[in-house]
């Protein structure tokens, strides 16, 4: 697993059999994502070629390994996967060969060797409820995160768990799970949410860091704007059906077969900022909506707790029936009391009516 740290990215890629054309193609994708002019492709390529292989430490906390799976398995052997290969992934407890104390030693060495320069990638959330909920080599997640983050140049929170707490933080959040950004507050944290995130987005953020030596511009949720700047809905190929008012009503009706909009089936595309509709998955083959299922909104904060997956966005998600039931009862009760009071008042007015005679028409003061 361990590569000589001096070898730059470019030569490593060529050693791995990536052609110059393929490499430039990746640079072009990157340039387009950042809306840079095509003249910059060469500059990016040159910078990437010369970029020293950065040392990366990958920590996994309360997670399902889906993010790693997404990155390694489904894309092999894509260029994104290889880029990741070519960085110096010094510690990743799922992928590394070492185990036990050797593994932890590798982490120590990587930290000492590139103090202040290494990248820290985290997947999974951090439990604050009880340190025992998740430990690695006897060290609690929060302690390890704090320790490793101390010497990191930047922290990348991969996946919705690391970025927002994700599934572990879903109500009622039994472990007291929190996102990385809540622990690491003195360093830039880039969130790359998604359950799992799109591989090219992860590699793109790395490539950005390698190319420009900086972190990409982030939105208010700490997400790189270039990948999370637009909603799925805006870029969805089914959008014209939404505009025409053509919707699938069930998953097996005529509309579903014709590929109409999935809004009514609960698609969260309109409120989900991600690049699925443009980059797609499995090497550009498809994405959930294309496969006939609405977007779940997995790259949005707290997506588990923002209403049922299969209820249209405009549908009520509270306990309307019960609340309105109580309101109805209250309305009828208060109404009844008011009615009785008003009728009594009116009856009193009637009883207090003194017959008006002609002599009563003028005010005698």
């Amino acid at each position: 697993m361990k590569q000589p740290a001096a070898s730059p990215v470019g030569s490593a890629l060529r050693d791995a059999g990536i052609s110059r054309r393929e490499f430039l193609g990746f640079c072009a994708t990157l340039a387009a994502a950042y809306a840079l002019p095509s003249s910059s492709i060469q500059a990016i390529a040159a910078a990437l070629e010369k970029a020293p292989r950065a040392s990366v430490i990958w920590l996994s906390f309360q997670e399902c390994t889906g993010c790693t799976e997404s990155l390694t398995r489904s894309h092999n052997p894509t260029i994104e996967g290889l880029i990741l290969d070519q960085i110096s992934l010094d510690y990743h407890h799922t992928l590394q060969a070492a185990s036990g104390e050797a593994a932890e030693r590798a982490r120590d060495e990587a930290m000492q060797g590139a103090m202040g320069k290494y990248l820290l990638i985290v997947d999974g959330s951090v439990p604050l409820g009880n340190a025992g909920y998740s430990t690695i080599a006897g060290v609690s997640n929060v302690d390890m995160l704090k320790e490793v983050a101390k010497g990191a140049a930047a922290v990348i929170a991969v996946g919705s768990c690391a970025a927002y707490g994700g599934l572990p933080a879903a109500l009622p959040n039994p472990t007291g799970a929190v996102p990385v950004s809540q622990i690491v507050t003195d360093k830039p944290v880039v969130n790359v949410p998604g359950c799992p995130p799109i591989p090219v987005v992860i590699t793109g953020v790395l490539a950005h860091f390698l190319t420009f030596g900086t972190l990409p511009e982030l939105d208010e949720h700490g997400r790189p704007k270039v990948f999370y700047g637009e909603t799925i809905h805006d870029r969805c190929y089914r959008r014209p059906f939404y505009d025409q008012g053509k919707f699938a009503e069930t998953f097996d009706d005529e509309g579903a077969r014709r590929g109409w909009c999935l809004f009514k089936l609960g698609c969260k595309g309109p409120v989900t900022y991600n690049a699925c509709a443009t980059t797609k998955w499995n090497n550009g083959v498809s994405f959930p909506i294309q496969s006939g299922h609405g977007c779940l909104g997995c790259s949005e904060p707290g997506f588990w707790d923002v209403g049922p997956f299969y209820k249209a966005l405009s549908m009520p998600i509270g306990n309307v029936k019960q609340t309105v039931g109580i309101a109805t009862a209250t309305g009828l009760a208060v109404g009844a009391v008011t009615a009785v009071a008003n009728r009594a008042k009116k009856a009193a007015a009637k009883a207090g009516h003194a017959k008006v005679g002609v002599e009563d028409l003028e005010k005698k003061s």
Binding site: K355, V356, G357, D360, L361, K363, K364, S365
Partner: protein, 421 residues
């Protein structure tokens, strides 16, 4: 006892009912009632917007009968109604509203503002804010039997005149007849021809009828001033006479609010349905003609139009009957631009005519009718309400207009087949 603010507010609380509450709840302040009201259209003064005339009543409802209003009153967001305010409102409620009901036809949310004004006057009168002229008329009606002070002797004199003029006998206090005929003060004083016309028509129709010494006056100042206690007494006189004489039907004369008073409010004032029918004279004429009991001949060829008295057409439902006669008798009968149930009021109904304070305003309001007449270019106008007729004749004089006013009943009588003319 004396009128007092407290009695007024008590009366407001008493008259507020579900319809009025729904009207106040529905108003969206669109201002269309103003556009339908001749007191606004002819003056351009926004204070005459009909819904605004109800403001003290509305606030009483809001503060007394709604939870929100009770809260608003408690925290000082809704000012209590004051006597000074009622005084300020008196000219709006009495002088600038003839209860013609045009706004009630126009309101897009369906508010029957006229219904509410009628009820509001109960409180205004109880609070002592009824206009002097109406108080005088009402007092006279109660004490002498007629708002104009017409005594039975005066009626008798007119009876004699008509009997002589048309060589007929006018029955008085006859029991078990078909019809009890009533008159308005105006008819007794200004248009006694009405009595002669009715006599001639019933003669041809072979209908039995009578006048009553105890109930000859059809008008009801109690309705106009808004005192149900007095209105009840006035209606009660007619009901008693009709029941004593065991008549089948009481005929309301050519007078708008008299019809409202007897036909629509009467049973409710008495708190029971009547044992006799109440009809407007035009309804009776139409029935007799339909049954072939009266036949018409001849025509009036000059162009003429018909002024719908509000209480008879819009608030009374009698608008087809006069047109049947006019179409038969007047080949040049022309309709005014707004007609039937959407007619414009003469400006003198609903007690405005008896209220001297309203005189200048009434003349201004007449401009609407004036322009309607001018637009049509006729110089004869038929109507079926003596009060409209008096109001219009006075205003025509004021504006130096040469337009002749005719009562429809006389017109019919003049065109009976066996009539001498």
């Amino acid at each position: 006892m004396s009128a007092s603010f407290e009695r007024g507010i008590n009366s407001f609380k008493e008259v507020l009912d579900a319809p009025i509450a729904s009207f106040f709840s529905s108003c969206v302040h669109c201002g269309l009632c103003a556009e339908s009201c001749l007191f606004y259209t002819e003056t351009g003064d926004p204070k005459y917007a009909p819904i605004r005339k109800l403001e003290p009543l509305r606030r009483t409802w809001f503060q007394e009968y709604t939870l929100l209003g009770k809260l608003a009153k408690a925290v000082g967001l809704s000012k209590p109604v004051t006597d000074a305010e009622l005084e300020e409102w008196a000219p709006l409620v009495y002088d600038s509203c003839t209860m013609c009901g045009r706004c009630s036809m126009v309101c897009p949310v369906g508010n029957d503002l006229t219904y509410a004004i009628r009820k509001m006057r109960e409180g205004m009168a109880a609070a002592g804010h009824a206009p002097e002229g109406l108080i005088t008329a009402t007092s006279r009606a109660i004490t002498s039997g007629s708002p104009a002070g017409v005594k039975w002797a005066t009626v008798q004199a007119q009876i004699k005149r008509m009997e002589k003029q048309f060589s007929m006998t006018i029955p008085v206090n006859q029991p078990d007849v078909d019809y009890l005929v009533l008159m308005s003060s105006w008819e007794i004083l200004n248009y006694p021809e009405y009595l002669g016309a009715v006599g001639r028509i019933f003669k041809q129709a072979g209908a039995t009828w009578t006048l009553s010494e105890h109930a000859y006056e059809a008008t009801n100042s109690g309705i106009q001033i808004g005192v149900s206690d007095l209105a009840r007494e006035l209606v009660g006189r007619i009901v008693k006479a009709a029941e004593d004489l065991r008549v089948k039907c009481v005929i309301s004369p050519e007078c708008g609010h008299a019809y409202t008073a007897i036909r629509w409010e009467g049973p409710n004032l008495m708190g029971r349905p009547f044992g006799f029918e109440v009809k407007h004279i035009l309804e009776v004429l139409d029935e007799l003609r339909s049954a072939g009991r009266i036949r018409l001949k001849g025509t009036i060829d000059k162009p003429l139009t018909y002024h719908d008295p509000c209480q008879i057409s819009r608030r009374g439902g009698v608008y087809e009957q006069p047109r049947k006669f006019l179409k038969a008798l007047a080949p040049n009968f022309r309709e005014m631009s707004d007609t039937g149930t959407m007619n414009w009021c003469c400006g003198g109904g609903g007690g405005v005519g008896a209220n001297e304070r309203a005189e200048p305003l009434k003349i201004v309001a007449f401009k609407r009718k004036k322009s309607q007449i001018e637009e049509l270019g006729v110089d004869t106008m038929v109507t079926a309400c003596a009060n409209c007729r008096v109001t219009i004749e006075e205003a025509l004089e004021h504006y130096h207009m040469d337009v002749e006013m005719l009562g429809l009943t006389e017109l019919v009588a003049d065109h009976l087949e066996e009539s001498a003319s």
